[in-house]
Amino acid sequence: MIAGYTMDWRVITEYLPVLLYGVVLTLRLSVMAIIVAIVVGVFAGLCRISRNPIISFLATAYVEFLRGIPLLVFLMFIYFGVGSFVNLDVQVASVFGLGVFAGAFVAEIVRAGIESIPKGQMEAARSSGMSYLQAMRFIILPQALRRILPPLAGQFIALIKDSSLVSVISGKDLTLQARNVIIATFRSFEVWLFTAALYFIMTFALSQLSHALERKFKIEH
């Protein structure tokens, strides 16, 4: 072989439990980060459409700032920067960093989804005596959710992929497990290719799930 590298796939079977444990770590990290992203993102998205100028300015600043910096820099800042003042567990820093970062994108998706619902819907709901919150809950959000779902799934697929960056701050995930296997075996080609396949299975499953949900919630217009 060129450069004298001979493939040896036994590394995969031998280290399969280590790599699959990496999948578990990445999934756990991603799910927790997605929860943080939804909570932060929905809140920030609602703040962005607030009529209070201070609230909407703060939400806009959060969205614009985080969308304008690299995730790696943000993770470094959280773990090493903020970590110089407070004792931060690397897992907490990873979940928080990924979640708050993705939250900025979720906020924009939520805002755009709500604003895409025609004004007449809110007016009809308010005219029937619903409060603003009731109108949001029963009329606006159920419709917005259907429009939000596809871009949201895309965002969470990006989050699963981006979660590999936490290995740089020594966060435990699939990428870190793969690196550890390579350090022990020097089988870069096989391990990275297999790792890529594992990431693809995770993101493809999520993408299929989102298509299924989309079909389930579809409404005619």
Binding site: A124, A125, R126, S127, I219
Partner: protein
């Protein structure tokens, strides 16, 4: 009973309501007509507080709509509103469109709310359409669902904002018939419309608005046969062919 006194409303520098006065007694049907941009729809939307006002007052059944401390959510339960473009909720069936506010706002038990909604929809000729979504209904059917949705709250007053102007000609009658039936039951109604046949037949009073003012108000026979204001004469000569 609706009392509109000297109502002023601006959008920025644009004065849309310029001191409007109008009274609607209980059980009366008042039709408001006039050229587009006269402020008719805006006036209607100030009656249930969808639009704020900058001067004057509006009192509905003894409640000052725009006073500080008025519970608009409560007041709006007594004021049904029918929109030009129906504004039905597309994610809910016809039946759910009608029951959602009674269930969520008035806290009426679901079974009771559904029974009443079915009664209303049946009376409006929509018995077979209850479980259809708005997108599966014609414009005329959608507007009748919207009327049922408003009536489900047991309003004391109904406001109609050009309820037939987004409809195909052959569907206008079914909506007007529903409104006539409602008027026949003694509902207090304010209708912004250019349906002069409806005004002649059903209205107790016709008001003509232009440039944010009521230029003339009179019972229909007087309004159509002997209008006082020259602008009203001109307008009527153009729309009554």
């Amino acid at each position: 009973m609706i009392q509109i006194r000297d109502v002023v409303k601006r959008y920025g520098h644009l004065q849309v309501l310029n001191g409007v006065n109008l009274e609607v007694a209980d059980g009366q049907v008042v039709v408001i007509s006039g050229p587009s941009g006269a402020g008719k729809s805006t006036l209607l939307r100030t009656i249930n507080g969808l639009e704020p006002i900058h001067g004057g007052s509006i009192v509905v059944n003894g409640t000052n709509v725009h006073a500080r401390g008025t519970n608009l959510n409560k007041l709006r339960q007594e004021i049904g509103f029918v929109f030009q473009h129906f504004n039905l909720y597309p994610h809910l069936t016809a039946l759910q469109n009608v029951t959602i506010a009674p269930i969520q706002v008035k806290k009426i038990p679901r079974a009771q709310a559904e029974a009443k909604a079915k009664e209303l929809l049946t009376a409006l000729g929509l018995k077979d359409k209850m479980h259809n979504y708005p997108a599966q209904l014609s414009g005329g059917q959608q507007q009748r669902v919207a009327i049922a949705r408003a009536l489900a709250m047991d309003p004391k007053v109904m406001l109609f904002d050009e309820p037939t102007s987004a409809l195909d000609p052959e569907m206008i009658k079914e909506v007007l018939d529903a409104m006539k039936a409602l008027a026949g039951k003694g509902m207090t109604m304010v209708v912004v419309s250019h349906e002069m046949g409806f005004a002649r037949e059903v209205a107790d009073k016709v008001a003509f608005m232009e440039s944010g003012k009521v230029l003339e108000e009179a019972p229909p026979e007087e309004f159509f046969n002997n209008p006082q204001n020259p602008r009203v004469k001109e307008f009527l000569s153009k729309i009554l062919r």
